[in-house]
């Protein structure tokens, strides 16, 4: 497999792996790994490094909504320009173009349900080309980006076995 792909797979699992560790695991030169990562950061193959957090553990009960948005595509730019107008809002976490009965799927975060509702009614629905929205509030998170929320990380193996 392409070395870049192997680096990305490992970083996707754990973005905190050091270059030194990566170099050992992949049997490659540290400088080469550093250069490749830099290059991929530059060309936006790597968009950023984040942390998957269970905010409830620190008492932050934010609200997340997934909003199905129907839009009228614009001539020449299709859905892109309206998508851009939506994703520029800092409240918006994700925007996807979807197949099926609606066009854009928008993930919005706010501190309270009111915040999110206000954003939808004041900002999102009022955008030109937005035809309709259907809002789904997330009630509970079970799994996100491959991480399971409630399962304790427990090694059930015997400590020593043949």
């Amino acid at each position: 497999m392409d070395l870049r792909k192997r680096i990305l797979e490992l970083l996707e699992q754990d973005a905190r792996l050091s270059v030194k560790t990566l170099a050992t695991m992949l049997e490659e030169d540290e400088n080469k790994i550093t250069a490749l990562i830099r290059q991929m950061e530059k060309d936006k193959t790597i968009l950023g490094y984040g942390t998957v957090i269970n905010w409830e553990k620190v008492g932050c009960d934010g609200v997340t909504a997934m909003i199905d948005v129907k839009v009228i595509p614009e001539r020449e730019v299709g859905f892109n320009s309206i998508a851009e107008r939506i994703y520029r809002f800092p409240e918006v976490r994700c925007v996807y173009l979807m197949s099926g009965t609606y066009d854009l799927s928008v993930v919005v975060e706010g501190n309270t349900m009111k915040d999110v509702a206000r954003f939808i009614s004041h900002k999102l629905s009022t955008l030109e080309h937005v035809q309709s929205t259907v809002t789904h509030f997330i009630l509970k998170r079970y799994k996100q980006d491959n991480f399971i929320f409630e399962e304790p990380e427990e090694d059930k193996r015997l400590v020593v076995s043949p």
Binding site: T24, M25, D155, L158, S161, P162
Partner: protein, 391 residues
Amino acid sequence: MSGMESYISQAVRAIPPSGIRKFFDLVSQSEGVISLGVGEPDFVTPWHIREACWYSLEKGYTMYTSNSGLPELRDEIALYEKRKIGVEYDPQQGILVTVGVSEAIDIALRALLEPGDEVLIPEPCFVSYAPGTELAYGKAVPVETFDQDEYRLRPDSLAAKITPRSKVLILAYPNNPTGGIMYREDLEALVDIIIKNDLIVISDEIYSELTYNGEHVSIASLPGMKDRTLVMDGFSKAFAMTGWRIGYACGHPDIIAAMTKIHQYTIMCAPIMAQKAAIEALRNGEGQMRKMVEDYNYRRKLMVNGLRQIGLECFEPRGAFYCFPSIRSTGLSSEEFCEKLLFEEQVAVVPGNAFGNSGEGFIRCCYAASVSNIEEAVERMGRLVCRHKTK
């Protein structure tokens, strides 16, 4: 009644308790320990396999199967072995589904040995071969392998241990605890000796999928060897299914029939839920299995590199998920090293002498552990090594 030892049979009394067991008891009493002492994957069985078992229970598959195992499973095993080692076995008569490879080894030895027959066992090796031999009234004959040979069995070492009573050779590659493998030419070099001395080979290939930078070769695939080899494999390591206790033996119908006789009176059949799960593993498990192997490979490099950096000599293991570094530079025995490492640095590894006398001076470190645990454990081990450097 107290003091019932005199009732225990001579054969069982003569078997020493497992060295691993002793160490297990020590480790169990300690807290905050990072364990590299395990002999199993750190993955849980892939969900699709667990789900298949669940589904079979829902459907009411809770009964005995035929002694040899479910026909669909034996069909899948035949296809799998053909893909993996290039040898064809008749699913009807050449394959027996067992309760792990452990059972397969036990019943094979019981089926083959007359009292006093000798079993050649390359060491260091998994702990059950010698006791299994002795419980079958055979004589275990260790054949040493060495780190400078990457723990491959040398034909001259084997030839030196052969007597008129030699009957069985156990080949366990990729090897637990050393991580050594046998390349095609290493196996070819043994064939003449095996045939000339009319040996039967028990080839324990439980780690065969965990072979890095190369392909696993089974001695059964070499000319003239299929009929005199029993290939044993299972699902524990490749598919992360240790607790399911499911494995199998493939070989000549006459030997498989003899083993089946013992199996039917002692075990009856392997549990049906494990057999159902095994079918799913063979039909749809290859993708996830490859992914797990790739992951072990990354961690293998991390551990070998780490051990070498702290000053321990360590040959690069080519298979399984263990490193077997030498700790002779510390001047400590394997057991002393492991006890100090446990009590002073809270890291558990297994003393090499638990795998035979030739393992003295070595320790087994399992890299089926998280990257952070491997790094932390190696660092702690480094502190101990530093304190005990003799040169």
